[in-house]
């Protein structure tokens, strides 16, 4: 097939290029899963232990024999198999000093104690009380436990990496929904494909999806919700859209507490639909609509109430004081910039300013995009190749709602403990990555005006994001663990 024919096929059949995006993403993620040693993901040992806790019986409970040391995973209350695997593979070397390396066997593809681990001599059973687990209700853990049970006769190496690949499959599915969201917002095919490519290389998104963690399903739930919301705006309310919205909100909620944000937006959308439908039908209906709004607001307050540091009813001044304390502790320039740096995937493992420069450059682009976005929102005649305002307002709602949810949870923790323990690490905001990118490129599109310029900007953005990601993979992550 000649080059021209191939390009013609790509132009007329965007699903071909979408397939290429998903295949490249999947392979990148498998490679990343391969280069991150076991249990080096965020709380990954705890999440995998939760999977084992749900997959196998755990009736025998013993008291812990050693005090927990946060630098030594082997001292945590994990299953016998996880604890012994950590010791046998020397995985604790990856916990503390960046210069510590695992004890690699020379001239071999097989680790010194790998055969012992593959021999399945340790029970995958939690015997210590209380077990170190991340709750027992998350849908992600239940699904991963199903895979764990199906592979029960295999080595922990196969079962653990199968769980990571399960996360990657959820990520690939989330990326597919990202494309659908962008496309249904009103971006043309090429723009939507370039934007999906750019997102597929976003380093934090990429790193996050290669570990055993319930956020893998949460991000997918956010993606499906945003897609259903976009369809609702595009085609109007239908049972299909509303069912999808409700199902994805429940999916998020039953996966992780953060999913409550989707329930809140869902209630708000339902109230808005009610208002749209009935407010024009006379006074009585207006009152009814107002009552529905009030009910929705009460439900939202009730939903978020558990996140507020009320503890038995503080007076309004007390709440304001607590909020002020929280803001003064957490909304500092340093903390906000740290959130943003970690959101973009900057890892502080190397003595190089390159990653900082890369994020500074992104900030510059975002600042320009913010100007463009404001111009877009107040413009009476924005360019036709950009989405309509309703989609942008929906994306903004998603971003603001998640921000509020995370800040409220963080505020409650700071008010309760006086410590900034949770903080607001960038990874918490990844569920809204697609909304964020849509907002940035709508703003840039407004500034660039012409469709061709926006397309070039997106392709350049994809090239730069690929370079950023590849630099992190080859020159930071591999260097940290193996060189």
């Amino acid at each position: 097939m000649s080059k021209t024919v191939f390009m013609q096929k790509l132009r007329t059949n965007p699903s071909l290029l979408l397939g290429l995006i998903l295949a490249a993403f999947f392979l990148k993620e498998v490679f990343l899963a391969d280069i991150f040693p076991m249990f080096t993901g965020q709380d990954e040992a705890r999440h995998y232990n939760t999977v084992q806790y749900l997959a196998y019986p755990h009736v025998i409970m013993e008291k812990p024999t050693a005090e927990q040391n946060k630098d030594l995973l082997e001292t945590y209350n994990f299953s016998t198999e996880i604890k012994n695997t950590i010791v046998a593979a020397g995985l604790d070397a990856n916990r503390d000093n960046a210069f510590d390396k695992m004890n690699f066997a020379p001239d071999s593809f097989i680790g010194q104690n790998e055969n012992e681990i593959n021999g399945r001599i340790w029970a995958p059973v939690n015997q210590i009380n209380p077990p170190d687990i991340a709750g027992t209700t998350s849908l992600y853990h239940k699904l991963a436990a199903f895979i764990e049970k199906a592979l029960a006769g295999q080595s922990i190496l196969i079962r653990f990496y199968a769980a990571r690949i399960f996360s990657i499959l959820l990520g690939t599915l989330a990326l597919f929904f990202f494309y659908l969201i962008i496309k249904n917002c009103g971006f043309v095919d090429k723009t939507a494909l370039a934007m999906t490519t750019l997102i597929s290389f976003q380093p934090r998104f990429s790193i996050y999806y290669v570990s055993v963690n319930y956020d893998a399903l949460l991000i997918l739930a956010f993606a499906v919700f945003a897609w259903a919301g976009t369809l609702l705006l595009k085609n109007g309310a239908s049972w299909k859209n509303l069912s999808l919205l409700a199902a994805s909100a429940l999916l998020g909620y039953f996966d992780k507490g953060t999913g409550i944000v989707l329930i809140v937006i869902f209630i708000f959308i339902m109230a808005w639909l009610f208002w749209q439908r009935f407010s024009a039908k006379g006074k009585n209906f207006q009152y009814l609509s107002l009552a529905v709004f009030a009910l929705a607001a009460a439900l939202i307050l009730y939903a978020f109430g558990s996140y507020l540091p009320l503890n038995g009813g503080q007076d309004p001044l007390g709440i304001l004081g607590s909020l002020w304390q929280y803001f003064s502790k957490t909304l500092t320039l340093g903390r906000l910039s740290l959130t943003s740096r970690t959101y973009w995937g900057s890892l502080g493992w190397t003595d190089s300013a390159l990653l900082d420069y890369a994020v500074n450059f992104i900030w510059l682009i975002e600042a320009a995009a913010l100007g463009g976005l404001l111009w877009f929102l107040f413009s009476k005649n924005p360019p036709k190749h950009l989405p309509q305002k309703k989609y942008i307002l929906f994306a903004l709602t998603m971003v603001v709602a998640l921000q509020l949810g995370i800040r409220l949870a963080d505020w409650k923790y700071v008010a309760g403990t006086g410590k900034i323990a949770l903080g607001a690490p960038g990874r918490y905001f990844i569920p809204n990555l697609v909304s964020h990118i849509i907002l940035v490129f709508t703003g840039l599109g407004m500034l660039l005006r012409k469709k061709e310029y926006l397309e070039d900007a997106l392709v350049l953005g994809a090239v730069l994001m690929f370079s950023f990601s590849a630099y992190l993979i080859f020159n930071v992550i591999i260097f940290r663990f193996y060189l």
């Binding site: 000093n97 392709v459 080859f474």
Partner: protein, 222 residues
């Protein structure tokens, strides 16, 4: 004919790829397996003094020595000279300075030098001299820990530290890029299931790079 804007993007992609892989190739050094940098006792080194220790190398292709210092390490403007000498500490084989490691780690320093191909089972002597450029510089603090049969000496004060070793680690580099890639593959493959090891790892890495580049180029030509 490709428009100018796309040609520029293509050139940027090529430039970034070149830079990326050049940097990657410069990072391919392999610290000795099972060699941990321990933070135990402290050995002071005042300006103009020299610490010296003999050690035996286990493998060929010695290319670097990594040394850990206690905070604050070497102050800007100061330098610590490093020399690799023969086993009698007479003939200088390699010379250089302790440089900050690329790894963002508390005071890890590299003494990098051209590969010594036949280093296996050879005994060498490491000499570290603090060349302070500032009158206010106090001393460098090296970590040391007990090790039977080893010893190091401050050759200026003649103080000997028996059954102690400085905390340093030997690092190797193979003679070719492909051998380095093979050793890296071996390290990544350990404690992984079969389908993520060896040739499969090569296929996954190659596939990801190939498909990603194909994707970016397809977007450019679309």
């Amino acid at each position: 004919m490709l428009p100018h804007s796309k040609k520029i993007i293509l050139a940027i992609l090529a430039l970034f790829l070149l830079g990326l892989f050049w940097r990657f190739s410069t990072l391919l050094y392999f610290p000795a397996s099972g060699s941990f940098l321990e933070k135990g006792d402290l050995a002071k080194l005042h300006p103009k003094e020299t610490l010296q220790q003999n050690f035996t190398v286990e493998n060929n292709d010695l290319a670097k020595v990594e040394i850990i210092l206690r905070s604050p390490g070497i102050a800007p403007g100061d330098r610590a000279e490093a020399k690799l000498l023969d086993g009698n500490c007479q003939k200088t084989l390699r010379t250089g300075f302790l440089e900050n490691s690329f790894l963002s780690s508390n005071n890890l320093y590299d003494f990098t030098f051209p590969i010594i191909p036949n280093s296996k089972n050879q005994t060498y002597c490491l000499a570290l001299t603090f060349l302070s450029q500032k009158s206010t510089s106090h001393s460098l603090l090296f970590f040391s820990h007990p090790e039977a049969g080893s010893q190091f000496e401050n050759t200026t004060t003649k103080e000997v530290f028996p059954d102690q070793t400085l905390s340093f680690r030997l690092v190797y580099k193979n003679s070719s890029f492909w051998k380095n890639l093979d050793e890296l593959n071996q390290r990544i493959s350990q404690y992984k299931p079969l389908l993520l090891k060896s040739i499969y790892l090569d296929l996954i890495a190659g596939g990801f790079l190939l498909l990603s580049l194909l994707l970016l180029i397809a977007l450019l030509f679309l």
